[in-house]
C-alpha cells in the first residue's frame, strides 16, 4: 500500500515521535550523535509513512522510550547533564529547606528569649554560607540566604557527581 505524499498531520505525527525520542536522549547523548540518530529516524519514519501511513509507521517503532533506551545503551556520553541538573536542583532545595528549618528554630529561640526591639542574626561560616538569617524581635521581618559561595560549591559538586556517577559505575562493572 503506497500512501504517497505526506500531509502536515503525518509530518507532525512523525515529528512528535522523533521529538519524544530526542527528549529521552537530550543531555545524555553528545549533540552531534543525537542529530545523526534523529535524522536517520526521521528519514526512516517518512519512508515508512509513505508506504503504510504515518500512524502505522510510528506504531511499528514500538515503545519510543525503549527505542531511546536502546540508543542510550549505545551512545550515552560521559556526562549525563540532565541527571546532573536534577541532583544540583535537589541539593539546592535541600540546602534551602535545611536553612529554612534553622531559621524557624532561630526565630523561635529569639521569641522564647523574650527579645525586644532589635534584629537578631545568625550565620554559619561567615561570608561563605550556606546558612544565615536575620529576624526582628517581633518576627515580622526576616531574611534568609538564597545564594552564597557554599551554595555554588554544593550545587557544583552535586552536578558533577550526578552527571558522572553512572559512567563511573559502568566502568567498575566492566
Amino acid at each position: 500500500m503506497n500512501q504517497g505524499a505526506l500531509t502536515k498531520k503525518d509530518r507532525a505525527r512523525i515529528e512528535i515521535a522523533v521529538r519524544t525520542v530526542d527528549w529521552h536522549l537530550d543531555g545524555r547523548v553528545p549533540r552531534a550523535r543525537r542529530r545523526q540518530i534523529l535524522n536517520e529516524l526521521r528519514s526512516n519514519l517518512i519512508e515508512a509513512a509513505e508506504q503504510v501511513g504515518s500512524q502505522q509507521a510510528v506504531r511499528q517503532l514500538g515503545d519510543l522510550k525503549a527505542l531511546a533506551n536502546s540508543y542510550l545503551e549505545l551512545y550515552r556520553g560521559r556526562f549525563d547533564i540532565r541527571a546532573g541538573s536534577f541532583w544540583a536542583f535537589i541539593t539546592y532545595m535541600a540546602i534551602q529547606v535545611l536553612g529554612l528549618a534553622l531559621f524557624i528554630a532561630f526565630r523561635a529561640g529569639v521569641a522564647a528569649g523574650g527579645a525586644h526591639g532589635a534584629s537578631y542574626s545568625f550565620e554559619f561560616w561567615p561570608g561563605f554560607g550556606p546558612f544565615a538569617g536575620t529576624v526582628s524581635a517581633s518576627g515580622n521581618t526576616f531574611e534568609v540566604l538564597i545564594g552564597s559561595p557554599a551554595h555554588i560549591l554544593f550545587v557544583l559538586v552535586a552536578f558533577m557527581i550526578g552527571s558522572s556517577y553512572r559512567t563511573v559505575f559502568a566502568r567498575r562493572r566492566t
Binding site: 528519514s43 511499528q60 545503551e73
Partner: protein
C-alpha cells in the same frame, strides 16, 4: 523457529537479529526501513522497526558496517549501510556458530517428546 500460529519468539529473534541484518547487508547495501521491509518479506513480521535501527547502530559501532548518506526523493537523506571487511568476518563467525548450535540442538529436537506424565508440573 516458527510457532504453531506462525509467530516467532521475540527473544530468539533478538538473538539472531544481528545475524539476519549482516546476511541481508552482505547481499546488498541497504537503509533502515528497507531492511525492515526485507525482514518482513522473509516472514519475520514481528521484528519492529524500533529494534532494527539501534541494531544497525550497534553494528556500525562495532565496525561491522559502514554507512553513507544518500539524498532521497522524500526529503530526508537515507543512511545506507554496507558490510565492512570486519562485518564479513563477523558474519562468517556468527553463521558458523549458528550452524554449530543448530547441529547441537538437532538430536534433541528430533527425538519424540515423551508422553506427559499424568501428574505433570504446571
Amino acid at each position: 523457529m516458527a510457532q504453531e500460529n506462525g509467530a516467532h519468539d521475540s527473544q530468539l529473534l533478538k538473538g539472531v537479529l544481528s545475524l539476519a541484518l549482516l546476511r541481508l547487508l552482505a547481499e546488498r547495501e541497504s537503509y533502515g526501513y528497507e531492511l525492515v521491509t526485507r525482514l518482513h518479506e522473509l516472514g519475520l513480521t514481528e521484528v519492529q522497526d524500533g529494534s532494527v535501527y539501534p541494531a544497525l547502530g550497534r553494528l556500525e559501532r562495532d565496525a561491522h558496517v559502514t554507512s553513507r548518506l544518500v539524498a532521497s526523493s522524500s526529503g530526508a537523506a537515507r543512511k545506507y549501510y554496507r558490510l565492512s571487511a570486519a562485518g564479513y568476518a563477523a558474519l562468517e563467525h556468527i553463521e558458523l556458530a549458528w550452524q554449530s548450535l543448530v547441529r547441537a540442538l538437532a538430536p534433541i529436537l528430533s527425538t519424540p517428546v515423551p508422553a506427559k506424565p499424568k501428574e505433570a508440573l504446571p
